[in-house]
Symmetry: C2
Subunit: 144 residues, 2 copies
DNA sequence: CTCCTTTTCTTGAATGAGTCAAGAAAAGGA
DNA sequence: TCCTTTTCTTGACTCATTCAAGAAAAGGAG
């Protein structure tokens, strides 16, 4: 009996990724969905909202596992601790505020796996192009 | 009397940036030029090659100062510690090996401040687009 | 050239995100 | 329901980076 029809079925996501369904993992997955771009610390707090006694380690482990399984994506702009998001597989990018660290999503404008074409690859086999736009968020740029 | 005509004049660079010319700073600047994309740790070692008794703190301070002055650029791909390079002001990007962490430069292919155009800026005032290409370096991709 | 003020460097301790490790508990197939 | 494997808890630990206080060096003034 699904109690929240609108919410994605996290258990099913875990199962289809061949992962065991555990309370911490479901809670972490839910937290990442609820708080896009949240830091590990913020996620630990969020998870403890529903599961008061999870260890930080369980959250770290879950995040690693979920990231490895591709259910969650880890981003880590310079000067920031690790952040996670649930929007995956659509090759989108991020804008990061230099002042407050706020993060927002940006779709890939150029259309076709755009930035994936490096001018010289130096023999590297490239599989992903990560783009981070740096600047100031509305609040910080207004606060002169 | 310049003893190394080919080498950039680091003292002059410091002076024109209105920074005091100190041995640690000159040595750090030289080390960054000699070892592009080196980690802080590697730079500390390099600097101690010429200045055996510098404290790690002096190197950290110098790197901060030089970065703030724009004489050096800091890059920090996910999962890596801080790295520094002396190639600045030409808006180039990087390829990073997922396996060994090797870094190489990539010029901006699209020509005109390319990636600087985000599709939706969410009200952010964007001043820089940072691109990191992820993949495997020649050695790591060959070592099957 | 010498003095004085300011900036920078040394030394040593502290912070904090993230990891490691051993045993206890939970998941899920037999 | 039992058993094996995976995952979680607990608690210690690592390592890049930062903080802080005093000592030393830089460089302009005289």
């Amino acid at each position: 009996m699904p109690d929240s029809p609108a919410a994605p079925d996290f258990s099913a996501q875990l199962r289809s990724a061949a992962l065991r369904v555990t309370q911490p993992r479901v809670a972490v997955l839910a937290a990442v969905h609820e708080h896009p771009h949240a830091s590990t610390d913020a996620l630990i707090d969020a998870v403890r909202g529903t599961l008061p006694d999870v260890s930080h380690q369980a959250v770290y482990d879950s995040l690693h596992t979920l990231t490895a399984a591709g259910l969650v994506r880890k981003i880590q702009p310079s000067g920031s601790t690790a952040r996670y998001e649930s929007r995956i597989g659509d090759n989108h990018h991020h804008v990061v505020c230099r002042s407050c660290g706020a993060v927002a999503d940006v779709d890939c404008s150029t259309g076709h796996a755009p930035c994936l074409t490096a001018s010289q690859s130096h023999g590297f086999v490239i599989d992903e192009a990560e783009v981070i736009y740096w600047g100031l968020c509305p609040q910080c740029s207004t606060a002169v």
